[in-house]
């Protein structure tokens, strides 16, 4: 790692490698604090609901960004992780009677292990083959859920009656948006902090980025390609599984719809608009798209069409997403 950091220490594209110190961490937590005061101020349960969705989506795209943006692995099975987390945790708490909080954590761990299983064949493949393989898993997943109806997945009807979270006598029912707001905010802010400020700042982040930019060179310096990519899949799946588990307990219903085109498209648009591999790109994307999606609900059928057009246009006009505007601004004003 020391050799690599010397190698990368020269003048560079700000989007390539980010060193995040105390200052950035403090501004991150200030942002979280602002959001939590918002939680006290906002009374409207619809707005709270949208923000809760924003937090859950922020976790999902963080997990995806880790693999797609930082490690450069074309993984398209992210919503499969989301679904496994949702179904795993939902079945644990609804059918096996596990405590919901415990079930959310276990759901994350189960998904992490599933991520390892998907990673093993993926890491034998290269480039687009991974995209094809993982997308095939994504497309085959709804059929699998219908097939395993006898295990308690609920088939087409979905998994119903997931109990609400109960922390020391406090019931987090889906109606109590205020509790849920803080609960989702706490989990999302911790998870996102751990991914961007801890995991990706340490050895692993540098290793993944060096592997993404030149795998042969990184390997020649002794970076363990297999190990780090496996770990990246594990962390990404774990994080996304937690998001899925949260979502399942929040809505108290999981249907195969979460693997449908709409959710996949939403996550894609978040990544495309925000900009991958560049914190806080995808997080901004998650907020913009979730809110825009709700605003567009009035347009009915046009909503998905508009979102599709949004993906195409953003990729064409801003291939690196909205955060690249900030980088451009920095380049123009500081490096003139």
């Amino acid at each position: 790692m020391s050799i690599l950091s010397i190698y990368f220490a020269g003048p560079r594209d700000p989007s390539l490698m980010q060193e995040w110190g105390l200052r950035q961490a403090v501004s991150y937590w200030i942002g979280v604090a602002v959001l939590s005061t918002l939680g006290f101020l906002i009374d409207d349960s619809y707005i709270l609901h949208i923000l809760i969705l924003c937090f859950i989506w922020a976790i999902v795209v963080t997990g995806w960004d880790l693999v797609l943006g930082y490690a450069g692995i074309f993984n398209y099975a992210q919503l499969v992780f989301f679904a496994i987390g949702a179904y795993g945790a939902g079945m644990l708490s609804a059918k096996a009677g596990v405590d919901p909080l415990m079930a959310i954590m276990l759901g994350g761990v189960i998904t992490g292990l599933f991520g390892l299983i998907i990673a093993l064949p993926c890491l034998r493949l290269r480039g687009e083959y991974i995209a094809l393989f993982t997308f095939a898993i994504h497309l085959a997943m709804p059929a699998l859920i219908l097939k395993t109806k006898s295990w308690g997945t609920g088939g087409n009807m979905g998994l119903l009656g997931i109990p609400s979270i109960d922390v020391m006598g406090l019931q987090f029912t889906p109606i109590d948006k205020q509790y849920w707001y803080f609960f989702a905010l706490i989990i999302a802010s911790i998870v996102i902090y751990l991914v961007y400020f801890v995991v990706l700042q340490k050895r692993m982040g540098h290793a993944l980025e060096s592997l993404r930019d030149s795998d042969e060179f990184a390997c020649s310096l002794g970076v363990n390609q297999f190990g780090y990519k496996l770990l990246a899949f594990f962390v990404s799946a774990l994080v996304t599984g937690i998001a899925g588990a949260l979502y399942a307990h929040y809505t108290s219903v999981v249907t195969p719809r979460i693997l449908g085109n709409e959710f996949f498209l939403l996550a894609m648009v978040m990544m495309a608009i925000g900009g991958i591999g560049r914190f806080p790109g995808v997080i901004i994307g998650a907020f913009i798209v979730t809110i825009a999606n709700e605003l567009l609900r009035e347009t009915g059928n046009f909503r998905l069409l508009i979102l599709g057009i949004a993906v195409v246009l953003t990729v064409l006009v801003l291939p690196k997403g909205i955060v690249s505007l900030y980088d451009r601004w920095i380049k123009r004003n500081i490096f003139q």
Partner: protein, 290 residues
């Protein structure tokens, strides 16, 4: 046994259509290194255009509709390549970006189709009426016609790629686009040609299968998934690999349908794919892309 022969003949004609879809997908990847995630939606779009040209509006006879369909789809493919895909080639993460753009395009097409034609499937009459008996198996003439048309197209394409100067230029670009450019081949022209061609192929596949299934806005995704598996199994960019893999998987499919039921096709295919990729990660006839 007779029932099995029926399923087998159905499987073979199905494989021939898979060939058409996988051929285009593989050709575009082979030359332009672009994975077209809109392939399935273009399949559906092709079927809808065919529906409009024949029973759905213009009432043209089959022979007149087919050339018109080819021209429309080819131009459509060229326009997509020129406006959406090509500008991205110069960006840094163009591989991820082209995948995202084509996925976005897929959702645009899907939703536009479902808004224009409605969510309910459209029926299409078979092109050839009646049945044929082969070895005691009764097969609809439509399936035989599909098989013959698809096989003729695949053979024609293979001859075109091997024998004609333009086909050789396409192969040259797919082997080494810089080397091809040095000997004076306009790679951009080849890219839009292959993209247009792949849209035509998938659209024709959509038209040929439309009488067997209803045309519905999301109907292309299942076939796209199948074409995916075929292309990966055959080796990305290898059109011959795609043809071989289409028939292997098509036959596996008909055996699975006979023994286990249609819903087991995809799990068995995925397991087959997994086994092949474990032994040969680059697919049956693929070479690693540089």
């Amino acid at each position: 046994m007779q029932q099995f022969a029926e399923i087998l003949s159905g499987g073979i004609s199905q494989s021939a259509v898979y060939c058409l879809m996988a051929f285009g997908l593989s050709l575009v990847y082979g030359t332009a290194r672009i994975l077209n995630f809109a392939h399935g939606s273009l399949y559906t779009t092709g079927a809808y255009v065919a529906w409009v040209l024949t029973v759905g509006g213009l009432n043209l006879p089959m022979l007149a509709a087919m050339p018109l369909l080819v021209v429309i789809l080819y131009l459509f493919g060229m326009v997509i390549e020129k406006t959406v895909v090509r500008p991205l080639r110069s960006t840094k993460d163009w591989k991820i970006n082209t995948m995202m753009v084509t996925l976005g395009l897929a959702f645009i097409l899907d939703n536009a189709n479902s808004m224009i034609f409605g969510p309910i499937g459209k029926p299409m009459p078979p092109f050839f009426e009646g049945t044929v008996t082969i070895f005691g198996a009764v097969v609809s003439s439509h399936r035989i016609g599909v098989l013959i048309i698809a096989l003729l197209i695949v053979i024609g394409l293979e001859l075109f790629l091997q024998r004609t100067p333009f086909g050789q230029a396409v192969r040259a670009v797919s082997q080494d686009s810089e080397g091809a450019a040095q000997v004076g081949i306009n790679a951009n022209r080849i890219y839009s040609f292959t993209f247009g061609l792949s849209v035509v192929l998938t659209g024709i596949a959509g038209m040929l299968l439309a009488p067997l299934f209803l045309i519905s806005p999301l109907g292309g995704w299942e076939l796209f998934l199948k074409a995916f598996v075929i292309v990966v199994l055959g080796g990305l960019g290898s059109t011959r690999g795609a043809v071989v893999a289409a028939f292997i998987l098509g036959l596996i499919e008909s055996v699975v349908i006979f023994q286990l039921g249609a819903s087991w096709t995809m799990p068995v295919w995925l397991v087959t794919l997994l086994i092949v990729l474990m032994i040969r990660p680059q697919g049956l006839m693929g070479v690693w892309a540089k």
